[in-house]
Symmetry: C2
Subunit: 342 residues, 2 copies
DNA sequence: ACATATTACGCAACCGATTGCGTAATAATA
DNA sequence: TATTATTACGCAATCGGTTGCGTAATATGT
């Protein structure tokens, strides 16, 4: 119905210049209170809406933050995104979310698109595949804040937000050892990614601390797709010395394994003790309840959001350019317990 | 380092007008093939990047789709968003995602913000609270495509994408009846929302078809927060005639209930048969496995994305302005079976 | 060879808000 | 009262593409 109304229309009606309108609407100090009120109230009643396209062009910023994640639909990632969105929303930033679907090429394309879209900042959780980081150069050249969360790498001046995966891997492994495990299998994700290599390193450290030898067959690298649990099962069955404990790099895989093992008559935790990672909702449902490591997705998202916002608002203290490590927490349930007591 | 380079810079170097640059880069037919090639290749090598702010302003469109959902972090919603993102991405649209957190006020604010941001279309899944729809008027006035998915209402010319909740509710209920249930409780969400009222109506229809009387205590309205399972338990215990079947409007609540009932010594499905809704991953994990209704989130997202894109591209056949009902599917597992056989 | 059609591009207005600089009007100071 | 400082606003350039209209150059038709 009504045509779009601009500050020029307002200016004409109110007998002031468009500049005054713009300043009044932005609460600029050099406009008197009375005209400010007059302008603002008329703008309201007339149904004026700012044209962000024009504002963005002249200010060269968009109040938009870009996010690239591997997949939207995982409990962890959607929790993280939820936290990010909450903070962004509170600070009047829009969130453009895109998925790399674990493909480096898509990640590169998304980065280009988001750059072209003029995002004021970019938050990334890396795809499994991603091996080089040239697609982020342009952001760094243009001084567009760039932050990594969860699946990170360490580029100069790029904050990272994640938990201490190495320590968490250590804790999980040591827990199994303290429950009596002597021959532990670690089912890992792609070791190229920090989150998995760190967990693996924690795993090795724990073995080392407790003078348990690490053999290549104690590690099984996967894509963590529970559909492919059979590969893991084969590895377990073909072990020279049967495993008495398994540390999974995520819960989904652990759950799939528990179900398969139970079906085959293996007792958990009596025969094999199992611990997962992430504290996925299913870990509390599966019988026996799955021990795991809590990975606070929502809180991580909130912190990541706050960090990027404070960058954008210019509160760049030295700290905020550093890594933030969130506290993880070992959650011991029955799947890993020596004496199956509550 | 390098300043931003514009089409004016290119024009100067290549001795053509900015208009020609623009047309060449947009593959406009009135530019000869040879100059097109010259311009495009030079633009490439010079590192030129379009300024979308300017392009958006002059074209008055942004290649951006806005999405408002109640919560990002639910298995269903993140699956739907994943599907939407995939389609949008394939068609070079950006997705701005925001959460209403079940608050009507936030939904209104988000709608305003997205409008101001100049989204080319809006996709909405309504908050529990939302009772009036004025915040969408501006979209309809400006002919900005508006689509509802899952939690919908029927505004003129607004496509809706969802499953046939009434039929699904009917199927779930009839299944319980056919398994021998005579006194079924329906634990519903807020009945203001279509998805829940439809399921409830299906519930009633099934009772009616099988000549089972419906009493007010056969319905229990909740916010479906599994934390508040105690209210449901109270209702169950205080029933005059004890229930022999429960139809939950979502799986999370059903699972919480199963766990509580089992703890109290109630046998499932022998004493009470239970069916959920959504086919949440936990439904396959819980013991006994939870019967449920499959609600294909990802597919729904894909369809919603395709529908909105086809609107935007102008392929507006009459069909695409209509509702789309996806196929649901009853998934029978052990939690509802008369004879507990596989 | 002359009229007409087509091709290939340039001109300049336009999208709508922002902002540095300048200045008239009013207030404060000497 | 004359002078300086403040206040409150207007002017006009700017952000960087897009696009309707006009036209010179070349091609086509008779």
């Amino acid at each position: 119905m009504d045509k779009k109304i601009t500050i020029y229309d307002l200016a004409k009606v109110l007998n002031v210049s468009p500049a005054t309108i713009s300043r009044a609407l932005n609460d600029h100090p050099s406009i008197s209170f009375s005209t400010k009120k007059r302008i603002v109230s008329y703008a309201q009643s007339s149904g004026y809406r700012i044209n962000k396209f024009a504002a963005n062009l002249s200010k060269q910023k968009s109040n938009t933050i870009g996010v690239i994640v591997p997949k939207l639909n995982s409990p962890f990632m959607s929790a993280a995104l939820s936290g990010i969105e909450k903070i962004a929303n509170e600070h009047n930033y829009n969130l453009i979310i895109s998925q790399s679907l674990e493909s480096e090429q898509k990640e590169k394309l998304n980065a280009k698109t988001l750059y072209d879209s003029g995002v004021d900042a970019l938050m990334v959780s890396l795809a499994h595949e991603t091996a080089n980081y040239e697609h982020f150069d342009i952001f760094r050249e243009q001084k567009i804040p760039l932050l990594f969360f969860d699946r990170v790498d360490y580029l100069p001046n790029c904050p990272t937000i994640l938990i201490d995966n190495k320590q968490a891997g250590f804790d999980a492994t040591e827990h199994l050892i303290l429950q009596g495990c002597k021959n532990i299998l670690h089912v890992s994700g792609y070791l190229k990614r920090n989150v998995y290599s760190d967990r693996f390193n924690g795993f090795k450290d724990a073995l080392h601390k407790h003078k348990i030898e690490f053999n290549p067959y104690n590690l099984f690298e996967t894509d963590l797709d529970p559909q492919k649990i059979d590969f893991v099962m084969d590895h377990i069955k073909n072990a020279k010395e049967s495993f008495d404990g398994i540390f999974f790099a995520n819960d989904a895989m652990a759950v799939a394994c528990i179900q398969t093992l139970l079906k085959e008559g293996v007792r958990i935790p009596e025969d094999i003790k199992i611990i997962g990672f992430n504290n996925n909702p299913v870990s509390e449902i599966i019988q026996p309840n799955l021990s795991t490591v809590n990975y606070p997705g929502y809180e991580l998202g909130v912190l990541a959001g706050q960090s990027i916002i404070s960058h954008l608002k210019g509160n760049i203290n030295i700290q905020s350019a550093e890594s933030i490590l969130l506290k993880h927490k070992l959650i011991v349930r029955t799947s890993s317990l020596k004496n199956n007591v509550k």
